[in-house]
């Protein structure tokens, strides 16, 4: 899922049998060589049984009057229906989300209850900026590998159509104090305080890093400049991503998408509405979105703000086989990395890729398909440039060469 927000961390999972292309993914094919066994001694095999998602819509479109847990509920119930797994089998539910709806702050629990899961099944919600739903998945892997659980549902949900906009701190204080104000005098005092216009200015949720006050788009644009990624290269890459996504939809490859019924919308929602292949000429007309007037990131080479949810079912290998389920993938390894939030905020993949390969004892040549999910075409290109560079490897990865 392409979210707004920030990447202090990035994770990468190696899936030797990849589940196929998803929207806005970068895939690089390498020549296939003999497969190694990655099973670890004394660690249980963790498998992916199935994954589903709602169509991803641009925020403010057809989903706009829903609540976020509605979308998550759909994926949870859809997952059970598709796999035929009984709700009694599910030991745990974990969800990732970035901007929380305050009414459903443990959205995993609210969604699974509405999806008719057992009320004795525990659930929790995690957040780690853009990587939140991956954090949910690796949390599930940990629970299974540690023998705590046999079957866990992990997922992610984001709903940018409605974000929590707060009253100002001053107004919140007045409101909280008002419940304590008993006398008319005190009440009038509070009323008087509420007369200032500053009190009435709402607080929008920051789309910026708290530590640097910089928005992600701004940081991405600077990253592109730092790695010399041109506007043209970004537009070309974005065009390629949109084309792949459109082709996959056309060919009916996106079997994970569940149709969604929005009340009072006549048609079922069956497709992502942000996949819009365009021409370079059209794209070149756009003005930069963040750094004006000489920046390189535009609305066309960046991903959109999204509403959507997903869910996947993870099990221990034995459990899946005992239930007669065929694993779609074996989940072998993962790493999380963090860098300087100012200048390397969006450079996670460049650090995580070599690290996870080393950890798993693999080389580039062992991998058939890499899949990265990032918000900006230029960001992917910057990361690839870094990975291509001996200089970068020496300076930042502690390696002798790339």
């Amino acid at each position: 899922m392409a979210f707004l927000s920030n990447f202090p961390k990035a994770a990468l999972q190696i899936q030797l049998k990849s589940a196929g292309a998803r929207c806005f993914a970068s895939t690089t094919t390498q020549s296939s060589k003999s497969k190694k066994t990655l099973a670890k001694p004394n660690v249980r095999n963790v498998v992916l049984v199935e994954g589903v998602r709602t169509p991803f819509l641009m925020s403010g479109t057809d989903y706009k009057d829903l609540m976020p847990h509605n979308l998550a509920t759909k994926t949870l119930s859809g997952l059970l229906k598709r796999t035929g797994v009984d709700k009694d089998v599910i030991d745990y539910v974990v969800y990732g989300t970035v901007i929380q709806e305050v009414k459903t702050s443990n959205i995993a629990r609210e969604a699974m209850l509405s999806a008719g899961f057992k009320d004795t099944t525990p659930a929790h919600t995690v957040t780690q900026a853009c990587i939140s739903s991956n954090q949910a998945i690796t949390t599930a892997i940990g629970l299974i590998a540690a023998g705590q659980c046999e079957a866990v549902v992990a997922g992610g949900v984001e709903f940018m159509s409605d974000v929590p906009i707060r009253h100002s701190r001053k107004m919140r204080k007045i409101m909280l104090d008002s419940s304590k104000a008993k006398t008319t005098g005190k009440k009038l005092q509070l009323l008087w305080k509420a007369m200032s216009p500053a009190v009435w200015t709402p607080e929008l949720p920051a789309v910026a890093e708290f530590s640097t006050s910089e928005t992600m788009g701004h940081s991405a644009d600077r990253l592109c400049t730092a790695f010399g990624i041109t506007r043209l290269a970004q537009d070309e890459f974005a065009m390629r991503s949109h084309k792949f996504a459109a082709d996959a939809i056309q060919a009916g490859l996106l079997t994970d998408v569940l149709p969604y019924k929005v009340p009072k919308v006549a048609e079922y929602i069956t497709k992502d509405n942000g996949v819009r292949p365009s021409s370079l000429e059209q794209m070149s007309k756009l003005k930069p979105a963040f750094i004006k007037p000489f920046g390189t990131i535009t609305a066309a080479n960046a991903s959109f703000l999204t509403d959507g949810a997903s869910a996947c079912l993870l099990m221990s290998e034995e459990k899946a086989l005992s239930l007669g389920l065929k694993p779609k993938a074996y989940l072998r390894d993962f790493v999380y990395v963090s860098q300087d939030p100012k200048d390397q905020l969006l450079l996670g993949p460049a650090y995580a890729t070599p690290k996870v390969l080393d950890k798993a004892g693999l080389s580039l040549a062992d991998i058939d398909v890499f899949e990265y999910h990032e918000a900006f075409a230029g960001q992917i290109l910057a990361n690839l440039t870094a990975l291509e560079s001996d200089e970068f490897a020496k300076k930042f990865l502690g390696k002798s060469a790339k």
Binding site: T212, T225, A226, T230
Partner: protein, 767 residues
């Protein structure tokens, strides 16, 4: 990165010219398509990229670019080159150094001028050069990153468009006034034209500098470039390349009309103020608006701000021709004033003291143990954590500790409010602080600074206690204003690690740190202490141990003389106005209240014992009686003045007056106001010279810096030694002779001063 240029500038024609060799090799222009540049010039290089000439200031083997004769000559050549090249459609002026555009004019070039004519000619040269630049037919874009000060900003002002990098290092201003000069290369004229009167005048009169963002707000900058981080290349290289790229695109855009120069019509009230100020009717703005404020601040002691007003006004009311003429003339005259020479001397001294003369210490100080969380202790802790030094702040009680931590938080909050740091950075800074009431983690300390009560026995106890808790390499520094370090060190088991670090209150504002070495202090200990001081952002002088060291010792006779004047019936407010009239920033009576009457009494007593009658003057019992009566100065609400918590008014303390009356002396016949001023100043100066004579001071420069930055000796006099160089020792010795007849030994000039009086060719400073 080369890819970017291939993509953006398909055809890059690079013209490399040797700018140092000014020969007629015009036929040798290279029009090869290449991104490589050969840096021929010593001060700047010149290339043409895609029809845009890029003049890059990059002085070889120098950390910063300055405007000197060499730069100016090379710039003239570039100018000729560009005007003769019909293919050039625009021009970019940029620097090859990431943290410096142009730091200003080369100060030595100005100091080397022998007379007004030479300095005036220098100004005219600058004016001509920048007028040529401004009058170019093609658009000229200044691309600024780092310091852009004085002549640097004047260069940028002559350009048609300014873009600047939003980094902490970018600083744009005209600080010439602080050197007793004015922006002499068109600055006084262009600033007033570009910016509203209300912004331009304070900028010139105070030297206030702007960063990229605030510069954009006031209209100094047209476009802000965000700094770029590290990629394959370093952050600095990336930022400079992006700045150049955007500058070239801007120049191209201005040349082909796709970018419009923003029309800066002054709006609202500013429009009318400027209109009036430039008319004959607008004198009120010049007189009441700025001149009165300057007179109030400077008492007319500084000629530069007054000339700036005069020159700016001439330009505004009589047009540029008269303005430029006045500017060059005033610049030449100001450069020859003793005030300017004094201020330049201080600037040079400050610059010289940024270097640690003891070299690099063997180990870097990472953790500082601060004993005492009072005003001083908390202040020292604040300036240390601010620079990334871990501080363990210890006090005896949690109440004292909590008060100290509050002081630090308040100090940092002020920085957040002024946008010097973000609130996130404040949190990071505060993490370096570990407040405690025990010695638990003192084994981590590399240096201890004690600021406990000024009592030798207590200090000995603390030294013995703490030395049990700290590692062997740890330095022990005592922050005392008067107790001899050698005496405190008697309690130490490691006297080679013992040193004095005399901070001035309030620590976060006062720039000076006086470091005191004893005979036993090792070189490495001194090196460490100086490096800590420099890290804290202090101007550090190093003196030998002795009663009162340097600063306290020269202040003591001055205060003693002040008490005598009070006894003679000069009222405290009169004394304040006399001393301020001499140029001291704080009146001496107020100073006594600020320092604390008890402290003053203490010092007077101790130093009186050490130096005998020579330190006499006022009756010591005046101070003693005041202390007994509880008149301790501002801290107790009563001193020479009365302090009310809410009111800013400070009436004289009549009870203190009563004490003074008890010790009333008759003033000497013929004693004038000027005599009072010189009685104070001559004892101050004489004692300073004596400190040099006795080897307390290593050199006159440190003496000047210590007197000005620690005690507020009038900066326009440049310090006691510069004062003698500029104004002569003889006149001072003559005055002292008269006072000697009146008061005796206190006014006996020291031998070194007498030597200088005898031979006027003798100078303390070589330049």
């Amino acid at each position: 990165m080369a890819g970017r240029f291939v993509g953006v500038f398909r055809q890059i024609s690079t013209v490399n010219r040797s700018l140092a060799r000014v020969s007629g090799d015009h036929g040798l222009k290279n029009f090869f398509s290449t991104t490589a540049r050969m840096d021929f010039g010593k001060y700047l290089t010149y290339t043409v990229k895609d029809g845009i000439a890029v003049a890059k200031f990059d002085e070889k083997d120098a950390k910063v670019n300055t405007l000197n004769r060499g730069t100016m000559a090379e710039f003239q050549e570039v100018y000729k080159e560009i005007t003769n090249n019909p293919n050039v459609k625009g021009m970019v002026v940029i620097s090859g150094k990431a943290d410096c555009f142009i730091a200003g004019a080369d100060i030595n070039m100005i100091s080397d001028c022998k007379n007004v004519q030479e300095a005036t000619a220098l100004s005219r040269n600058g004016q001509d050069m920048f007028n040529n630049l401004e009058n170019m037919k093609i658009p000229v874009v200044a691309a600024i990153n780092g310091s852009c000060l004085g002549g640097g900003l004047e260069t940028a002002l002559a350009c048609h468009y300014r873009i600047a990098v939003n980094s902490k290092k970018t600083s744009m201003g005209v600080p010439e006034v602080m050197l007793g000069l004015l922006p002499g290369a068109g600055g006084t004229q262009r600033l007033l034209k570009l910016l509203p009167f209300q912004t331009a005048m304070p900028m010139m009169l105070t030297g206030k500098a702007y960063n990229a963002k605030s510069g954009k707000k006031i209209g100094l900058v047209d476009h802000v470039v965000e700094p770029i981080g590290v990629g394959i290349k370093s952050a600095n290289e990336n930022t400079m390349e992006e700045l150049e790229r955007e500058a070239i695109l801007t120049a191209k855009g201005l040349a082909d009309g796709t970018i419009k120069k923003p029309v800066r019509s002054k709006k609202g009230l500013n429009k009318y103020i400027d209109m009036f100020a430039s008319s004959r009717l607008g004198n009120i703005f010049w007189e009441k608006g700025v001149k009165d404020a300057v007179m109030k601040q400077t008492k007319g002691k500084y000629p530069a701000p007054l000339r700036i007003i005069e020159v700016a006004k001439t330009g505004a009311q009589q047009g540029p021709r008269a303005g430029y003429e006045a500017e060059a003339k005033a610049f030449g005259e100001l450069a020859m004033t003793p005030e300017s020479k004094a201020l330049v001397g201080l600037f040079n001294g400050q610059t010289a003291l940024k270097k640690n003369k003891f070299g690099k210490p063997e180990r870097e100080v990472k953790t500082l143990g601060m004993l005492g969380a009072g005003l001083m202790g908390a202040g020292i802790a604040q300036v240390s954590i601010d620079k990334g030094i871990d501080v363990i702040l210890k006090d005896v009680t949690t109440q004292g500790l909590s008060r100290g931590e509050d002081q630090i938080i308040k100090g940092l909050d002020t920085k957040v409010q002024r946008k010097k740091i973000t609130s996130f950075e404040k949190d990071q800074v505060l993490t370096h602080l570990e407040p405690t009431i025990n010695y638990e983690h003192f084994s981590k300390c590399d240096i201890i600074v004690e600021a406990v009560f000024e009592d030798l026995k207590l200090k000995h106890k603390v030294v013995r206690e703490v030395e049990q808790k700290i590692p062997e390499h740890c330095i022990f520094a005592s922050n005392t204003s008067a107790l001899p370090i050698t005496s405190i060190a008697e309690a130490s088991i490691r006297p080679d690690k013992f040193i004095g670090m005399h901070y001035f209150s309030p620590v976060d504002k006062m720039q000076l740190l006086e470091i005191i070495t004893t005979d036993k202090t090792s070189q490495d200990t001194a090196a460490s202490a100086v490096s800590v001081g420099l890290k804290q952002g202090k101007v550090v002088i190093v003196v030998k141990d002795g009663p009162g060291f340097y600063t306290t010792r020269i202040l003591a006779p001055t205060l003693s003389e002040a008490v005598r004047a009070l006894q003679e019936g000069v009222s405290p407010s009169k004394l304040d106005s006399l001393t301020r009239g001499f140029g001291w920033p704080v009146g001496v009576a107020t100073l006594a209240d600020e320092v604390g009457i008890d402290v003053a009494a203490h010092v007077a007593e101790d130093l009186g014992k050490a130096f005998g009658e020579r330190f006499g003057g006022g009756n010591i019992n005046v101070l003693r009686d005041m202390v007994t009566a509880g008149f301790l100065g501002r801290k107790s609400g009563k001193g020479v003045y009365l302090y009310q918590s809410k009111s800013k008014k400070r009436p004289e303390n009549t009870e203190a007056k009563a004490i003074l009356d008890r010790y009333k002396l008759d003033p000497k016949p013929g004693n004038t106001d000027e005599d009072v001023q010189y009685r104070l100043a001559s004892r101050f100066i004489n004692e300073a010279v004596m400190c040099l004579q006795e080897g307390i001071l290593a050199n006159p420069m440190e003496g000047d810096i210590g007197a000005v930055f620690g005690l507020g000796f009038p900066p326009f006099l440049g310090g006691p030694f510069r004062y003698i160089d500029l104004h002569g020792a003889k006149q001072l010795v003559d005055r002292m002779k008269k006072y000697h007849d009146w008061y005796g030994v206190a006014f006996e000039p020291c031998q070194l001063l007498l030597d200088h009086a005898k031979d006027p060719s003798k100078k303390f400073h070589t330049r």
